[in-house]
Amino acid sequence: MEKFAWLIPALPLIGFLFSIFFGKKVSKTVVASVASIFVLIPFILTVAIFIPFISVAEAEAIRIPLLEWINIGKLTVNYSIQLDQLSLMMMLVITGVGFLIHVYSAGYMHDDDGFHRFFAYLNLFIFFMLVLVMGSNFLMLFIGWEGVGLCSYLLIGFWYKNMDYNKAANKAFIMNRIGDLGLLLGIFLIYLRFSSFEYSRIAYEAIDIAIGDPIITTITILLFIGAIGKSAQLPLFTWLPDAMAGPTPVSALIHAATMVTAGVYLIIRTNILFTLAPFTQEIIMFVGLATALFAATIGLKQNDIKKVLAYSTVSQLGYMFFALGLGAYTAAYFHLFTHAFFKALLFLGSGSVIHAMSGEQDLRKMGGLKKALPITHATFLIGTIAIAGLPPLAGFFSKDQILASAFAHHPVLWIMGVLGALMTAFYMFRLYYLAFHGSFRGTHEQEHHLHESPKTMTFPLVILAVMSVIAGFVNVPEVLGGGHWLDNFFTPLLAGTTLILEENVHAHLSHTVEYILMGSSVLAVLAVIFYARIRYKNNGHVPAEDSEPMSFLERLLSKKYYVDELYDSIVSNPVVKGAGLLYNYIEVNFIDRIVNGVGQLVVLSSRTARFMQTGNVGFYIFAMVIGALVILAANTFLH
């Protein structure tokens, strides 16, 4: 089966070419089916490779060289595929979720002029993403990395007629390039240190390196900078919420399930280097935790349904990095895996809602959609429970594993992690109740128009909902009677790390402690959900319009819900205010300013430099002579 592995990335590429060249000439149905099938076949192929692979314990990675690519004396780089535990798991997610999103898009984008263009880009994206995860060396990773960035740029700016969307696209692109600078330098340094780009070679040689080696630390920091850009971590995360300008399936596929997790993939792929650099790991841990909490607080206050999900994505990515920083690579991947399902589900669900609402994204204009959209409602609820981390849905297991690792590291980290989880549960249920319960708050026309989405859209929702329920069972912890399947499966991948640390990477807590941790976090989450329910369902609380800030405080007071009042004034309000503060001051004023400032600096210097070009030959010659004199003087005096 492996000999057909090259087909996996090749087919989406063919699909891309087909849509680009013939997309206009054939009907939309044909475009959508071709594009979807060219993702479905790779999925089937991946499964066909995957099944024999899991049946062997600690299977060796399969490397399939395709073409010789670069050959300079001692350096040979091939186009070659590496099939191992990590790449196969990634491929399953990419092709599986990718296929569902293709199907979904067929319904969602049905009335769009750029239908064939959209599918072309989607296919191209799948191609590059597969290249990214399937390559056996850093160069292929880099090509995929740049390629997905490009597709993301194209898809964010898909509705290019809107200038704001173009700006969002540019912002994403530029921020990603900052990260890419780090990645590229990291790759160059790797080459200098190891004289190779092959993962296997690097892993082989890295085992002998002492922990804390300065070059390795530098490399890992540079790689991490690359990951920060791609995976939207502090301080380069602001592009991701803006990236929601793209069509919703894009948000689901690229900005939730796959591309943004490339940073996580990169670090797991090079886990041995990161294990050798404890300093970098500390940084990653703090950056991840900070991002998780920071984004979660901002999420509390957002009223745009996609913005909430976007900040939630940033926050969940923060969790993954938190886990990576703790050295819990499997936990990070596990969360990536489950998150891909439930976040894609939530995005697609929100797309279904937006579709039904004729493009309305403001939560304050929704409400009571439960009746009109039964399937969307049910699946969305599953997604919400999954992300909130209630057992036995997927999010519970993965989040629990991260939290357990955190506790093993330091209890304070656990508390912070739980805090983030609580906020997640709150804003997600807030979103859920605001959208699906209460009375409808939109216009009459919208209400009249409300309808359940077509089958092409609900089918992926159902599949993803099922996955969100069961995905967690790939790694049920021992304490709950599971067998840590994923941990065992990943053992060969983390062999180097294990060897270096000479102990098992995942946490060892006593069963009692684990029960207590699990129980307390679940209870806390339940409490928060209950609070959200009272606040947004029973009391029908609706966030204030932007035009009347803080007036809701007075309204609340008049309603005399003492608990609410108490909570609002002591806990909720400061948090909400703080969230607003973070958003308005730190993000808008500070981070955005820095990014924009760099751009403005370039523009300004460009303007200035332009005027050196006076058009006057006399001046040019004068400048030349000065230049020549300076050079000659330097030559004489620099000796």
Partner: protein, 109 residues
């Protein structure tokens, strides 16, 4: 005649170097300070001829004839350059009726 050779023999290569550097610099200054195309052009020629003197001197000093042959090449190239330069001048003069190099500055920024 003998004495003349002796006299020139007393000049070291540094004298020639100095002479041609000065001539070259005069040429550079001329290009820098003048605005008339033709005069600038003559200054460029002066630069080339300064080089020619130096080449001939080096050639003699090193006892290597190739320097002198190079002078011939430079002269021919300079003549070609003159032809092209003057053609450009005529072309421009016909269009804008001036030989001031700074008159043409539409291409800028």
């Amino acid at each position: 005649m003998e004495n003349i050779t002796q006299f020139t023999g007393a000049l070291t290569i540094n004298h020639y170097l100095f002479l041609s550097s000065v001539l070259f610099s005069i040429g550079v200054m001329g290009v820098l300070l003048r605005r008339n195309f033709i005069i600038i052009f003559m200054c460029v020629e002066l630069m080339l001829n300064a080089v020619n003197i130096l080449l001939a001197a080096f050639s003699r000093y090193n006892g290597n004839q190739s320097g002198q042959v190079f002078v011939f090449f430079i002269m021919v190239v300079a003549a070609a350059e003159v032809a092209v330069g003057l053609a450009i001048l005529v072309m421009i003069f016909r269009n804008i009726r001036t030989t001031d190099i700074n008159a043409l500055k539409n291409l800028k920024w």
